[in-house]
């Protein structure tokens, strides 16, 4: 077996494609790699699939500003060359920000992820103070049990330990508030921004959420 090469790609998922589900984005990357002519390695077995992994699924409707994926190549390719080819092959809304070769023996990105930071802009007539009171209540709670539907079954998930930080930005425009969230995102489980907004009673208000950063073990 020839030596493989592992390329780590930083990308953003923008407004035009924020409604793509994770699987759709996965398929989009497969086709982007093929259009770009990257020498992507394939899995063995009955149905060979291109070998690449995204660090974390992005919930539908949320943009991501610094997402990561690893892709395995069968031939060495200078990261700048890969970057150029990918940029010419991504659909509108997907931007390739950086590419770097990383050692093959690094653990999978998913296993290294710890948290994700979100920026939520909410249209509301409520005062920031009123929202702050509810946020304090959320942060003071010992547990925040919530129902999640997983593979057709309802299960209870405690949201509280999954909220690492929650704060209100200075109000930029009247009628809007901006929330910063740092939520757990690790193999043990993830906090979801929509659940936090729901717990704050803000889901019904028009809102726009961006994932601004993924926090990995190696970031510390």
């Amino acid at each position: 077996v020839d030596e493989l090469h592992r390329l780590r790609v930083t990308f953003s998922k923008g407004e035009p494609i924020k409604y793509l589900a994770h699987l759709d984005l996965h398929r989009t990357w497969e086709r982007t790699f093929r259009r770009a002519g990257l020498p992507v390695a394939h899995s063995k077995g009955y149905t060979p699939r291109p070998r690449f992994q995204m660090a974390a699924a992005l919930p539908v409707g949320i943009t991501g500003e610094a997402e990561l994926l690893d892709v395995w190549l069968t031939e060495p390719l200078p990261p700048d060359a890969a970057l150029g080819r990918l940029r010419a092959s991504v659909p509108a809304g997907l931007r390739v920000l950086a590419a770097a070769e990383v050692p093959l023996n690094l653990p999978a990105l998913q296993s290294q992820l710890r948290a994700a930071e979100y920026h939520a802009e909410i249209e509301t007539a409520e005062s920031p103070e009123a929202i702050q009171v509810r946020m304090d209540g959320l942060l003071d709670a010992v547990s925040l049990p919530r129902q999640r539907r997983h593979k057709g079954r309802w299960q209870t998930v405690d949201l509280r330990p999954r909220i690492h930080a929650l704060s209100l930005a200075a109000q930029p425009v009247p009628g809007k508030v901006v929330l910063h969230m740092r939520l757990q995102a690790s193999p043990e489980g993830a906090g979801r921004p929509d659940e936090v907004l729901d717990a704050l009673g803000l889901m019904v208000s028009p809102h726009r959420v961006r994932r601004t950063r993924l926090v990995f073990v190696f970031d510390k």
Binding site: E15, P16, I17, Y19, L20, A21, L23, D24, L25, R27, T28, E30, R31, T32, F33, R34, R35, G37, H42, Y46, T47, P48, P50, V60, G61, S89, P91, A92, G93, P206, R208
Partner: protein, 619 residues
């Protein structure tokens, strides 16, 4: 009117699969709206995932967007949740490319591939804010033109559509654009008369239908000199170059792959088959053109699968060389190549084996359609039982574990014995698999109900009785079980609606309108189909569905679509129907010309191309 993104952002988080409504796919074409003078909305009246699998839409989108001054954008039917949200928000139906309201376009080009989409068409016109009835629209409104397989009998939709295109759209669509330019600023009547003068275009409001006392059609007569007494379909003499930059959908569509048409038309002459009659003549795309196009397609789209499309792939004279070349050139690239619509013959198994080297090994699908040699002669799909079993054995021997067999029930002259034979045949095939491969072999049987279609040799025959169909399905359900056997069937009530609409006349417009008012839409979706609504609509309009679906039509009856000419003559169809009742088969076009009428009607087109370009004999 452009639907604002902010408004859409309030709705989309609350609907299923929001990416159905956002466009932006690779190879989608977004033009500067103001820089184009003819704007066409290409509308497919079903959801995105189905519409995006339609080759006709892909072709017309490509042609129109590369025509000077013309832009084309896509519109699909919003699913029921999105429709509810749009109506609640007062949001009009909009295009995916620039989110313009449908009313901003000059031409609405509707695809009508099957009858169960009729109510969706009304719903889409209504969602666009257009009067649903053509007579209530004026020159301020876009022209509404429909084409596709169901347009060969468009009479049930005559109240709602300005003009129908019969046959292939590649050339006529440009003539439509020219006619719209030429009549800009003129009244609606002038525009319709201009459209009626285009060959292959049928403007129903320019014809009067007179009925006899018994309700049958007496005659269909043009009301103006511009309307020809007979409208002959359009064909392209040479297949235009294939589209090599099709849109790459983000969503998982029904056929999520790069399509390339390797052959158009089918000369097998299966008597039940609408496509086989209305898409004649048979024209092959040269092997080298296909090979070059496949390479371009893969480079331009990144699709992991290419489908070589035709109505009967193994009939293409160069198919073996085609497959050999594709595998040689692309076999190492993890590209899978699919070849649907294979005939039951050993060459099919060899072709599939070569293609499997490139990708996954799924099931093997055959459509014998009938389980006895007698009935297969009646429908003109002759193949001896022995050959069928030999091919099945070959399939198993080469390593496939699953064979899918498709059958129809309710075909003319079919008896319960023919249905019981489906069970026997499936069991024999499964037994073959057990002996050849072992226990893990599977035979999946798909059963659909035969629907008589216009312009086919069976256009005169009644749809089978509902009770009989139910008894046949019950028999299959009872007997076709056991290890390695699986049965799928479809709802006979959906079949009844299809049968009524397929051979209906203009009086059905009132029923379609009423059914839509009562909430009928997505009639092709079992979970949305509401037969009670249709029953009520038929009742209120005083029309009995059996009159259209279950009446044996005599030879001398004027059929509602007799003024619409697909090139295959009624005389041929009647002769072929009579032959079928005698159990006589007819050779495929390739073996011997059966004088169906195509060459007579399209003599000029035939003469314009090389002898080998069509399967029809040279003139």
């Amino acid at each position: 009117v452009i639907v604002p993104q902010a408004l859409l952002d309030r709705i989309l988080p609350h609907v299923q699969k929001p990416a159905r409504y956002t466009g932006g796919e690779w190879n989608s074409i977004v033009r500067d709206w103001d820089a184009y003078d003819v704007r066409v909305a290409l509308v497919f009246p079903d959801v995105y995932e189905i519409g995006m699998s339609n080759l006709g839409l892909t072709i017309l989108y490509d042609i129109l967007n590369h025509q000077p001054g013309v832009l084309a954008e896509r519109v699909f039917a919003p699913w029921v949740d999105m429709e509810g949200a749009m109506r609640a928000a007062g949001m009009p139906l909009f295009s995916l490319e620039t989110r313009h309201a449908l009313t901003d376009f000059d031409l609405i080009g509707l695809s009508l591939p099957y009858e169960q989409l009729f109510t969706n068409v009304l719903n889409l016109l209504d969602l666009a804010g257009l009067p649903v009835r053509a007579a209530e629209r004026d020159e301020q409104h876009p022209s509404v033109v429909a084409g596709g397989a169901a347009a060969f009998n468009p009479e049930p939709m005559a109240d709602f559509i300005d003009a129908f295109v019969l046959g292939e759209g590649e050339e006529v669509v440009l003539e439509l654009v020219a006619a719209l330019r030429a009549t800009r600023g003129q009244g609606r009547d002038d525009r319709l008369r201009a459209l009626a003068q285009i060959r292959g275009v049928y403007v129903p409001s320019l014809y009067a239908v007179r009925h006899r006392d018994d309700g049958t059609v007496a005659e269909v007569v043009p009301l103006v000199p511009e309307a020809p007494p007979r409208v002959v379909k359009r064909v392209v003499a040479t297949l235009p170059p294939p589209v090599t930059r099709p849109i790459v959908p983000f969503l998982e569509t029904v056929h999520n792959r790069a399509p390339i048409e390797i052959q158009r038309g089918c000369g097998r002459g299966c008597r039940f088959c609408h496509a086989g009659m209305v898409y004649r003549p048979v024209r092959e795309r040269p092997v080298d053109e296909v090979v070059a196009a496949v390479e371009e397609l893969v480079a331009n789209t990144g699709f992991e699968e290419v489908a070589l499309l035709s109505l009967s792939s193994s009939d293409h004279a160069g198919v073996e060389r085609l497959v050999r070349e594709l595998v040689a050139r692309l076999g190492h690239t993890h590209l899978s190549i699919s070849l649907p619509s294979l005939r039951i013959e050993s060459v099919s198994v060899e072709l599939m084996e070569q293609l499997q080297a490139t990708g996954r090994r799924g099931g093997f699908t055959f459509a014998p359609e009938a389980a006895t040699e007698r009935l297969r002669a009646v429908i003109n799909k002759p193949i001896p039982d022995g050959e069928l079993l030999a091919v099945a054995e070959e399939v198993f021997r080469r390593g496939w574990k699953t064979i899918k067999l498709y059958f129809m029930i309710g075909q003319p002259t079919q008896t319960l014995d023919d249905v019981a034979a489906i069970v026997d045949l499936a069991r024999r095939v499964r037994q073959m698999g057990r002996q050849t491969v072992g226990r893990r072999t599977q035979v999946n049987v798909g059963v659909s109900t035969f629907v008589p279609k216009p312009h086919t040799p069976f256009q005169w025959v009644p749809l089978a009785d509902l009770g009989e169909i139910r008894a046949q399905i019950a028999l299959l359900k009872e007997r076709l079980r056991g290890p390695g056997l699986k049965l799928n069937w479809n709802d006979p009530q959906e079949t009844l609606l299809e049968a009524v609409l397929a051979r209906g006349d203009r009086r059905l417009g009132a029923v379609i309108h009423r059914a839509w008012e009562l909430g009928a839409r997505f009639d092709a979706w079992s979970e949305q189909f509401r037969f009670d609504v249709w029953r009520q609509a038929f009742g209120e309009r005083g029309i009995h569905p059996d009159y259209y679906a279950r009446r044996e039509r005599p030879a001398d009856e004027t059929l509602p679509w007799d003024h619409l000419d697909p090139g295959v003559s009624n005389a041929f169809l009647w002769r072929d129907y009579q032959a079928s009742l005698q159990g006589e088969t007819r050779p495929a076009c390739r073996e011997q010309c059966t004088a169906c009428g195509i060459v007579r009607v399209f003599r000029e087109e035939r003469a314009s191309v090389a002898d080998g370009a069509w399967v029809c004999p040279p003139v």
